[in-house]
């Protein structure tokens, strides 16, 4: 069944898009991520312009992260104070990212910028995850115990001023690194159409030493608010959110996430991290391929001010 997308201005098969939503939802449920870094490139591959893809995915992530937030909320496994501080930075970052999209589009370099950001970010994060989880699997094979987190260890930024105590997370830390992390996540979210969960979770664990029990809930809360505001900002600034496309993706995503979550519980966590790392790396390599290999057609058309 074909349906014409009013903003992307092209006809798509509803069931195909629904399946894309289900598959991405399945993977996001399995790995506990928003899935933006998978969905945005997939939509671009289908032929949807990067501007529309980035903007539409932000509304999709809003839907998928709300289900997660509700589950963690009931278990009180999220730190609202920390989420609020992260969001203070993230919202400024989102405005910056959405604004940068408008600037890059006007300059005809949005595709390049999105390609490069994906390559850089996914390449680094993917490689780090593969190495880290590979080591963890090796340790498990040899029967060694995993490294235990030392709660007392201090980083240089623990000396920064404006310290705040976050009761739920049991940390006492300056708000400057919290704002900075939030800003970066929000900026990348606006620019790349990613929720940033796969960045925020490690940042909270390794940099701020937030206990794992509240990390995912807090991260999802930040993702939810960032992506909800990105949806509004993209609609206002770039007019590139396709509500019809978003709805089909969301419905597929919400369904897929349920099955993904069940599948994820059957796999050991370090193996899950290895799989996720490989997936991230593969998407990054796909962008590298497009940038490095001589394109079939060196020419392309751009309609200034248009969505395409």
């Amino acid at each position: 069944m074909q349906i014409y997308l009013p903003i992307a201005d092209l006809p798509v098969n509803v069931f195909f898009i629904l399946m894309v939503g289900v598959v991405v939802g399945f993977l996001s449920g399995m790995f506990g991520i928003g899935g933006g870094f998978l969905l945005t490139p997939l939509l671009i591959l289908i032929g949807i312009s990067p501007a529309v893809a980035v903007a539409t995915v932000s509304s999709h992530i809003t839907a998928s992260s709300l289900s997660g937030v509700m589950a963690y909320w009931r278990r009180k496994a999220l730190d609202l104070a920390l989420a609020a501080m992260l969001l203070a930075g993230a919202l400024v970052g989102t405005v910056g990212g959405v604004w940068l999209i408008a600037v890059l589009r006007a300059a005809g370099q949005l595709d390049l910028a999105i390609g490069l950001s994906y390559l850089t970010l996914l390449g680094i994060v993917g490689a780090m995850m593969v190495i880290e989880s590979g080591r963890a699997i090796g340790r498990a094979r040899r029967g060694e115990r995993a490294e235990i987190r030392r709660p007392g260890s201090h980083s240089w930024f623990h000396g920064l001023p404006l310290k705040l105590r976050f009761k739920q997370s049991k940390i006492y830390v300056s708000v400057i690194p919290v704002w900075t992390i939030g800003f970066v996540i929000g900026f990348l979210g606006g620019l790349m159409g990613i929720g940033g969960g796969f960045l925020l979770v490690p940042a909270l664990i390794y940099l701020l030493r937030v206990p794992t029990s509240v990390v995912i809930g807090t991260s999802m809360m930040v993702t939810l608010v960032t992506m909800a505001s990105a949806t509004v900002l993209q609609s206002v600034t770039n007019k590139s959110v396709d509500a019809v496309l978003a709805l089909i993706l969301m419905v597929g995503g919400v369904m897929g996430a349920q099955f993904g979550a069940r599948a994820g519980q059957k796999i050991r966590s370090e193996q899950l991290r290895l799989l996720l790392g490989l997936l991230i790396l593969a998407v990054g390599l796909r962008f590298a391929f497009d940038l490095v290999v001589r394109p079939d057609d060196l020419f392309s058309l751009q309609i200034p001010g248009g969505i395409r």
């Binding site: 074909q2 349906i3 014409y4 009013p6 903003i7 201005d9 092209l10 006809p11 509304s59 999709h60 809003t62 839907a63 998928s64 992260s65 709300l66 289900s67 509700m70 589950a71 009931r74 278990r75 005809g108 370099q109 595709d111 390049l112 490069l116 909800a228 949806t231 509004v232 900002l233 993209q234 609609s235 206002v236 600034t237 007019k239 959110v241 509500a243 019809v244 978003a246 709805l247 969301m250 419905v251 919400v254 369904m255 996430a257 349920q258 979550a261 940038l291 490095v292 290999v293 001589r294 394109p295 057609d297 060196l298 020419f299 392309s300 058309l301 751009q302 309609i303 200034p304 248009g306």
Partner: protein, 259 residues
Amino acid sequence: MNRAAGIAIAAAALLCASMPARAEKLVTSLSAHRVMITSNFTGVDLTLFGTIETDASSVGRTGGYGLVVTVTGPRQPTITWRKERVMGIWVNAQSRRFVEPPSYLAVLGNRPIDDMASPDVLRRLQTGLAQVQLPQQVGGDIADVNADDPFRAAFVRIKRAQGLYREQANAVTFLTPNLFRTSIPLPANVPIGEYEVDVKLFAAGTMVAQETTAFEIIKAGFEQFVANSARDYGVLYGFATMFMALFTGWLGAIIFRRD
């Protein structure tokens, strides 16, 4: 060619030159003057019918008629980019700004366009993809370039690949010597706006009659509502989409609640 026909052509040419009323007259009819893009739109073919009305002065044309239907879509400034390799990666490096080229252009003929008139005549009438002017902005000036300019060639090639530009020599069919039909293919990605249909009749290397008509393509129903809301009420549209997302997520959490 017999003498009588030769004289008739000469007489017809004289009449054309001296009288504002043409010997041939085109009467055309489009199957629709408004195309609606609804949610199940996957492209459509419009049919154009026409007759050539003749009078005493136009009998005995030799070589038959040449008919060209040119369909021009709304004009849309477009930039053509050329990628170059910079530090190992391919980036958009050079660009040419085309000033208001048609977003859609179909040139449909009953035989090859080049056979219908001399190159000069075709260029003056802007008939055929190679003859249509596609002015580019060069510095402060606006100029058209020759047809084999790489940016112009690339522009036309990409537009053809998108199905938005086309030139077909056998698209117009004559059902009787004076009654013709053609179908105007409008692909799914066709831009919305006003379309001009220009029908030119050639005989013996000159244009003997011309007729224009028009149609419009609009978004209709739900598509129109969504597109208009997104364009005119960005804030409202953004909040509506956000609440739709929140509702879907909430519904999902309720339906699939596990704990």
